[in-house]
């Protein structure tokens, strides 16, 4: 198991190397340990009426939160923690469509889905460690998985387990999933939308704008495989969309330049249109180390998220 004290920080390793190290939870722990080691710890405290979990008493804790019943049973001091002590309610919306299950270099690079799954796990752990309630919605053409935001450590295990069991689906329809998020986040929170954005742009933008309109912070992580950014090869190829089976026959060499520009324009368009709505946007290449991706996506002046 890699740790922050290990020979290498997992968040700085190549994603494919990281993927070979073990289970999702273990790897994610390593990623986050490494990632957080480079940041200030910010265990923010707060209290609310909704019990969340126990933790060991530490000098300075208010005595009124000591669980006296548990002291009686276990002869140890624990203090109660409540949901309201988290600063944030975050929802990770993960695209699990067929288009995500693709790698431009199979065997040497993670698929976009694998990358996004690890990124989601790492992100949720980061948020949970900050005492932010974190939930998960995975979707393809329907909502495949919904885990409401919780702040407990055990919740991360549920998140990780669910992510590990999640398989890529079929088509992509982001709007229902994003609308579902609105229902789940009754108060203002953070929505992290992780997708390759190969979806209906208009409806997705509409849903994201609606989230923003409801006061949520929205972060879009655009997962891109380097193979999608460039066309290569001289011979004629029939490119087929794994989701829609739509196909285009062309010679990559002839179209490489204009394709590069088109993709660049598409990314720019997403960025501009999202930012115009106050939505943060980050394009993440699947050949980037997770730590760099997380840092670029999450860190901004003043703290995480």
């Amino acid at each position: 198991m890699a740790t922050t004290h290990g020979a290498a920080r997992l968040d700085l390793l190549d994603p494919f190397e990281v993927s070979r190290l073990g289970g999702l939870e273990v790897v994610t722990e390593g990623l986050v340990e490494g990632f957080l080691a480079g940041l200030h710890r910010s265990p923010r405290r707060g209290f609310s009426v909704e019990f969340a979990e126990h933790r060991m008493y530490q000098p300075g804790d208010e005595l009124r939160y000591v669980d006296w019943k548990l002291l009686g049973r276990k002869d140890r001091l624990y203090v109660k923690q409540f949901e309201e002590e988290t600063n944030l309610r975050a929802m990770i919306v993960l695209d699990a469509s067929r288009s995500m299950d693709w790698s431009g270099a199979p065997g040497s690079r993670l698929t976009k889905f694998e990358y996004a799954r690890r990124l989601s796990a790492a992100l949720s752990l980061v948020l949970l460690r900050q005492r932010d309630a974190t939930g998960l919605v995975a979707f393809d053409e329907t909502v495949r998985l919904t885990l409401p935001p919780r702040v407990s450590r055990a919740h991360w295990m549920r998140l990780a387990t669910a992510l590990g069991a999640l398989q890529p689906g079929h088509m992509t329809a982001a709007a229902p999933a994003l609308q579902g998020v609105v229902e789940r986040l009754r108060r203002r929170g953070l929505v992290v939308f992780i997708s390759d954005l190969l979806l209906d742009q208009a409806s997705a933008l509409h849903a994201l704008k609606f989230l923003r309109h409801r006061g949520h912070s929205v972060l879009v992580l655009h997962v891109l495989d380097p193979g999608e950014l460039e066309l290569d090869g001289p011979a004629e190829v029939r490119f087929e969309d794994p989701e829609t089976a739509a196909a285009v026959v062309l010679r990559p060499r002839d179209w490489a330049e204009v394709y590069r520009k088109t993709v660049s324009d598409a990314i720019a368009e997403w960025r501009v249109r999202l930012r115009r709505e106050g939505i943060r946007y980050h394009a993440i290449r699947t050949d980037l180390p997770f730590g760099r991706a997380l840092r670029e996506a999450l860190v901004r002046p003043g703290g995480i998220a």
Binding site: R98, S99, M100, W102, K112, D196, L198, E228, A235, E236, V237, R238, F239, E240, D241, P242, E243, T244, A246, A247, V248, V249, L250, R253, D254, W255, A256, E257, V258, Y259, T262, V263, A266
Partner: protein, 594 residues
């Protein structure tokens, strides 16, 4: 119409479709690759596909045209250059008929002069890049630069050799068969009917038709001195004339210095003349007509041998032989004596029959051996056959014969054969007959050829002399086996006995075997030359289907028609270069802007 210098390259024209085939093959089975971002590709191609498709097909068209241009350039296309001067480098065979008839004079000008003038006009159009051949009556195809050919043509005189125009065109066709340049045959001839023969025309042939009526002509077609040798005294000569009927000419027959009585001769029945021979020897015999517009056939010559007739003995018991001998004696062709023995092997010259009793074969063969005769009688052959036709005899029936074998190397002296086997042979002054002169052996004694045969055997063959041969200049003559030299007026040709030999010119040639004169060869003009009538256009077109007939004075204009075509190779190569540049530009532009 388009012609091609290297038409074989046209077979490669389908290669021009290679770009299209590659395009279709490449389009047929492109590998399928899963690619989620197809929407971007669709967006890209939606915006550019029409333009790129146009560019693509344009590129395909340019590549196909490029291939086509290169392949066509390799094939060397030529097109007619109507109205333009000059011609592309061409190959031409000029058939100039200087056969004897070309010496015929019309309106004061010999036909050969007219043909030479036309040939000069044709050569005026030739360039140094043309390949030119000249074929004349001697059958030689001379390839030379235009100036050399001009000199050759200017120095041409009427040849004594007949030219078969069909053979000459076939020769020209063979010459041009491997020629890459536009090829053409130009025939300049008086177009005698007798000179035309059928030939397949598969190359452009221009035939110049003289608009001249040939002169009326009377020529000596044949001079027959009759059986050889002549004996001293009066001998008869037969003469046949050819030419235009209704014309007559004084005819003079001369034997050495002696002339026959002059007579007026014309075309018609065979003419006979009597002329006296006196001293033994070889004497020139000529017949001559008054000169006319075609001089070459006004005289004919041969050689006759004058020698006393043979003094022969024969066995009265052989009725057929005796009857023939007596007939010859009555005709003055034989005398009684012992110089020649007819029927058995005598002490001197002998004509030997096979013995009636086969048991005598051994003694005859031993006697032949003692006489140094290399021939021997062998076993009998009993079957109905015909003798092979030859100079000595027409085919006659042979029912029985004895095989004749030669006892020393290659057989020599075979005078007649049956089924290819020797039947009448000669060695020195001995002649062996393979069959007895008996109708149960052969039909010879009852045939019309019998008496002349006995005459030839007794007077000529046993004396080691051959018959008088006739030939024409340039035509092959089969020489007798014993001949090893041919002489004429001090000039000698070494020849192979039994082989064909082509006498170079008219005249009388002596056939020699060492110091002995075996016979003579009289070489005179081919009698067909005397018929000056020209072939009609219909006759020419029937024999040379596809030939282009033009009048003699316009042949120069019509010549080099095959080469009077513009070369398309250079423009095609320039076009290919241009297409190549367009292709590179288009391909580059397509890659840059796709």
């Amino acid at each position: 119409m388009i012609g091609f210098l290297n038409p074989l390259w046209l077979w490669a024209l389908p290669l021009a479709t290679v770009p299209l085939i590659l395009h279709l093959v490449a389009r047929r089975q492109p590998p399928t690759v899963p690619f989620p971002a197809v929407r971007y590709l669709q967006q890209v191609t939606r915006d550019h596909r029409r333009r790129l498709k146009l560019q693509h097909w344009l590129l395909l068209l340019v590549r196909t045209l490029l291939m086509l241009a290169l392949l066509l350039a390799a094939a060397g296309p030529t097109v007619a250059r109507d109205g333009l001067s000059g011609h592309a480098p061409a190959a031409m065979v000029l058939v100039l008929d200087n056969s004897p008839s070309s010496g015929a004079v019309t309106d004061g000008t010999a036909m050969l002069d007219r043909l030479r003038q036309a040939a000069g006009a044709v050569l005026d159009k030739a360039t140094t890049e043309d390949a030119l051949w000249l074929v004349t009556a001697d059958g030689l195809a001379r390839r030379a630069p235009v100036e050399v050919l001009r000199t050759v043509i200017d120095s041409l005189t009427p040849s004594e050799i007949r030219l078969d125009l069909g053979v000459a065109i076939a020769q020209a066709r063979d010459i041009l068969a491997d020629e890459a340049r536009p090829a053409e045959v130009v025939v300049l001839s008086d177009l005698q009917q007798s000179a035309l023969s059928g030939v397949a025309i598969d190359a452009p042939v221009v035939v110049a038709v003289p608009a001249i009526v040939p002169p009326t002509n009377l020529g000596v077609a044949a001079l027959d001195p009759g059986p050889q040798p002549w004996s001293p005294g009066d001998n008869r000569v037969r003469v046949r004339l050819l030419g235009d009927s209704g014309r007559s000419s004084p005819m003079a027959v001369r034997l050495g210095d002696r002339a026959s009585r002059p007579q007026l001769a014309s075309v018609g029945p065979v003419l006979e003349a009597s002329i006296a021979a006196s001293l033994p020897g070889w004497w020139p015999l000529t017949v001559e007509l008054d000169p006319d517009e075609f001089r070459a056939d006004d005289r004919r010559a041969t050689l006759v041998r004058v020698i006393p007739v043979a003094k022969a003995q024969w066995a009265p018991s052989n009725a057929y032989l005796a009857a023939a001998a007596m007939t010859l004696r009555e005709g003055g062709r034989l005398q009684d004596g012992r110089e020649v023995t007819l029927g058995w092997l005598g002490p001197g010259a002998s004509v030997v029959e096979p013995p009636a009793d086969i048991a005598e074969l051994g003694s005859i063969n031993r006697a032949l051996e003692r006489r140094g005769v290399p021939w021997r009688y062998g076993g009998p052959v009993v079957r109905e056959e015909l003798s092979d036709s030859g100079r000595l005899l027409p085919p006659v029936r042979v029912a029985r014969r004895l095989r004749l074998s030669y006892a020393g190397g290659a057989a020599r002296g075979v005078e007649a054969t049956v089924g290819g086997e020797p039947w009448i042979v000669r060695a020195g002054e001995v002649v062996l007959l393979g069959s007895r002169l008996d109708p149960t052996w052969t039909g010879l004694p009852t045939s019309a050829a019998f008496v002349p045969l006995i005459d030839a055997l007794a007077n000529r063959l046993v004396r080691g002399e051959q018959e008088l041969l006739n030939g024409a200049p340039g035509a092959p003559v089969q020489l007798p086996d014993d001949v090893d030299e041919v002489t004429r007026e001090g000039r000698t040709w070494r020849v192979e006995g039994g082989a064909a030999w082509r006498p170079p010119a008219t005249g009388v040639y002596l056939l020699q075997s060492g110091p002995d004169t075996l016979g003579a060869l009289a070489v005179n003009l081919d009698p067909r030359e005397s018929e000056l009538a020209t072939a009609s256009r219909a006759q020419i077109e029937a024999l040379w289907s596809g030939a282009r007939l033009v009048s003699l004075d316009r042949v120069a204009e019509a010549s080099f028609a095959a080469g009077a075509r513009g070369h398309l190779r250079t423009p095609l190569l320039w076009l290919a270069l241009l297409l190549g540049l367009i292709e590179m530009g288009l391909a580059s532009f397509q890659r840059r802007t796709a």
